[in-house]
Structures are given as structure tokens and as C-alpha cells.
Amino acid sequence: MLNKRKKYLQIAFNRSLDEVKNMITMLPSSEKIIIEAGTPLIKRYGTRCITEIKNYWESNIGKPGYVVADLKCMDRGSREVFAVANAGASAATCLGLAPTDTINEFIRECSDVNIDSMVDMMNIQFPFEILQKLKKLPTVVVLHRGVDENERNKEKQLQLDQIHRIKGTYGNVLISIAGGETERDLVRTFFNDADIAVIWRAFYEKPDKSKELAEGFLSKIR
């Protein structure tokens, strides 16, 4: 489980499973790293990629590590959560844009099977409106600028101003920021009080440099 007083670097993996294996083996053994099985990876290989990633990471750090299944659940909340929890995930994600019934069902099932719930606020202007409708809060709220948005529309910004607002209202929830890609983004993210920064592109583009990249990012986390 995540520690509220710590900051985490979440690395999302989207290359082929063989490449991901090499990349994870290269990473520095740090508990500050969270490993994410990206949505394309799950859709390509199914839940077995979660189990394999979990094993690679465990053999790197010498104990079971934290693995997020980026399910981006939109319907059938409980069924999908059950499948990834069985495969060994420590957390799963649900879209904030999913029907409220689905998000509620997703959070309930996550707590039933004892994994963390993350609600991904991609394409949502006011995450508050979603949180207010929920029966129970998720473990983590992910503020997210999508990859396609990033590439095709440079004006859209990360909603760093929302971090304090959400934390001010809901003290217990952790905030993750996805969509920044540089060390500078990471520093800004943590300066604004986020708990988790999600990075993928640098690793996707230079898989051979996974070790150096991770060390660079980790050095920016206090």
C-alpha cells in the first residue's frame, strides 16, 4: 500500500513484453518507483502481462513491488477489477468519465479485493463534480492530460491548481499527475503537492536508457 508521506515516480510501460522485461530489470531498486502496466499493454497481452511485470519487478527489488493495472475501466467495474487483482495488481484505474454507477462499483470491488482504486480524470474539466457524486472516495485521483491531447493540442495544460483544491476538501485522497514528461514537469508536480508523478514517453522512446532516466527522475524527488 502507498504511504501518504512519500512521493512516488510511476513509470508506465507500453512497449512489447520482452522489452518491458529488460527495462524493468535495468531500473534502480527503489521503493519510490511504481510500475504501471499501460492500457495498450493490457489490451495486447491480457492480464498475464500484469503477472509477468509483477514478477520482473519483484526479482529486481527482492520483494513484491507495487504494480498498477491501467485498466481505464468504463463499464463492468467489478468484473475487470477482479481479473486484474487475481493477476497480482496492487491498484487499478477507472475512468472518471465512466457512469457514476461504474465508478462506485469499481471502488467497492477494489476495497473488497484489497487493492487501491485510482480514478483517472482525463478529459474532465472539474474533477470535483465527479468526486462529489461518489459514495466513497477512491485511494488516488489521477489528473491526466492524454497523450493524443498532448500531441494535437499544445494549449491544454496540466491542472496543477486542482491539487490543492482537492486535497483541501478531501484530505485523505492521494493525487497523481499524468501527462508531464520532463524532469522539470516532475519538479513542478511535486512542488504543487502531488503524491505521484506518472511518466512514460522518455522510457518509451529510449528503453536502453531506462536506468539513467529513472535515476534522473528519482534525484528530483526529495
Partner: protein, 245 residues
């Protein structure tokens, strides 16, 4: 027994992959004047096999590899289900894309899908890129309007229209909020504005709802297990459905 079945399946799948390279196998295409029954498979590959083996042969039946199957088995689910169906069957990959459209469309089309789905709630940039990629790979694009209040507003923002717009009430919604209705009036609204687009309706639980969708001019009706479980025999139901439309 299971291993023998697996060997036969993989042999058929290889045969189908080889055949795909030959132009004489016609690619299934959706026609504007037809009505289609779209059967979604969501539970397991074994169950999918059971259902498929009971279905009558018809080019008006579309087979969907549901999101849970894709997330559990990966794109293998698509090629395996494709190998269970008669050659030329139209296969929909319900990948529910919400980002990284280029990558997902490529994966689904390489696995043998004839259509892929993207969420209507996804960023417009993603939907635009999804439709472009589908065209590039020669597969149909379906936009799933689950949890979208007004599908027309989404369509108006797009650079290009998708092949199919799917009006959809989710499973969780249907179970927990019985009062939510499938917005059938939107079918005519959409067709009034965009005559080229096909409209699919998903989320009906009863045969009555299916009839209502067709009556309201839907081109495709999506059904899944709850629907035919409640009404008994899958094959019989599909046959009577096809007769009716």
C-alpha cells in the same frame, strides 16, 4: 479433450491468417440498408465458443469481442474468436479506446478485427485520430456514446464521421439505475443530420427493447448474455430475430 480442441483451433486460426493474404476472400462490409444483430461475447473464450457454435450462419450477425475478453486475454481473444467463426464473419473489437488511438487501432486490425470502438467521452483529439487510423487500416470505426448526454454534440466536433455511432447504456448503469433509458429519439436526430452514419443501439435487456430499437430505425442492435439467457436458446433467438428484421 481441451488440448485437442486447442490444437484444432490454432490450426484453423493459422489457416484463416494465411487466407487473409488472399484477395479472393471478400472483406465483410456493413450495408446501409440492412439490419444487423451484434452479439457481444464478454465472459470467457469457452463460453464464446459455445455461443458461436449455436448461431445460425448469416452475414447479418456481427460478433463482438467484448472489452473484458480483450483485457483478460489480450488481442489473442480477437484472433481466437475469429478462428471460431465461419470465414468472412464480421468481427468487432470492443477496445473502448480512450487514448493512444494509433497504437490500439493497429493492434486490433492486425489481430483481425473488422471494426474497433472508441469512447465518445474520450478527448476529441483521440476520437479524430482513432477515425483517421481506422481508415488507414481499412477497418470500420465505431464511437461508443456511453455516458454521453448528447451524441450529436460530440459528432459535430469531429473532423470526420465514424462509420457507426453506438448509443449505449452500460451494464452497471442498467443494473443500478433502472430509470435510465436508452435515448432512442437520438437515432432519428443523428440520422437527420448525418445520413451516412449507421446507428447501433446497445443496452437493451429484453426482446421488446430490441424491437423498439429497430422500430426507431437503428441499423445495428447489440445484445449480450443477459439478453439471451433470459429468453432461452441463443440460436432460436437469433433465427427469430433475423426473420423478424
Amino acid at each position: 479433450m481441451k488440448t485437442i480442441l486447442n490444437i484444432i483451433m490454432s490450426a484453423i486460426s493459422r489457416l484463416v491468417t494465411v487466407q487473409k493474404d488472399f484477395a479472393f476472400i471478400k472483406k465483410p462490409k456493413l450495408l446501409k440498408r440492412e439490419k444487423y444483430l451484434h452479439i457481444a461475447l464478454n465472459n470467457s473464450l469457452e463460453e464464446a465458443y459455445n455461443i458461436i457454435s449455436q448461431l445460425p450462419f448469416s452475414d447479418r450477425i456481427l460478433i463482438e469481442v467484448g472489452t473484458p475478453l480483450i483485457k483478460i486475454y489480450g488481442t489473442d481473444a480477437i484472433s481466437k474468436i475469429k478462428s471460431m467463426t465461419p470465414v468472412g464473419t464480421y468481427i468487432v473489437a470492443d477496445n473502448k479506446c480512450s487514448d493512444l488511438a494509433t497504437k490500439e487501432v493497429e493492434m486490433m486490425s492486425v489481430a483481425g478485427a473488422n471494426a474497433a470502438t472508441c469512447l465518445g467521452v474520450a478527448p476529441i483529439e483521440t476520437i479524430d485520430s482513432f477515425i483517421e487510423e481506422c481508415e488507414r487500416y481499412g477497418i470500420d470505426s465505431m464511437i461508443d456514446m456511453m455516458n454521453v448526454d448528447n451524441a450529436l454534440l460530440v459528432l459535430k466536433k469531429l473532423k470526420k464521421l465514424p462509420t457507426v455511432v453506438m448509443l449505449h447504456r452500460g451494464v452497471d448503469e442498467s443494473e443500478f439505475s433502472k430509470e435510465k433509458q436508452i435515448p432512442l429519439y437520438q437515432i432519428k436526430q443523428i440520422k437527420g443530420f448525418y445520413s451516412d452514419v449507421l446507428v447501433a443501439v446497445a443496452g437493451g435487456d429484453t426482446i421488446k427493447e430490441v424491437q423498439r430499437a429497430i422500430f426507431n430505425n437503428a441499423d445495428i442492435v447489440v445484445v449480450w448474455k443477459n439478453f439471451y439467457q433470459a429468453d432461452g436458446d441463443t440460436a432460436q433467438l437469433a433465427t427469430s430475430f433475423l426473420k423478424e428484421i
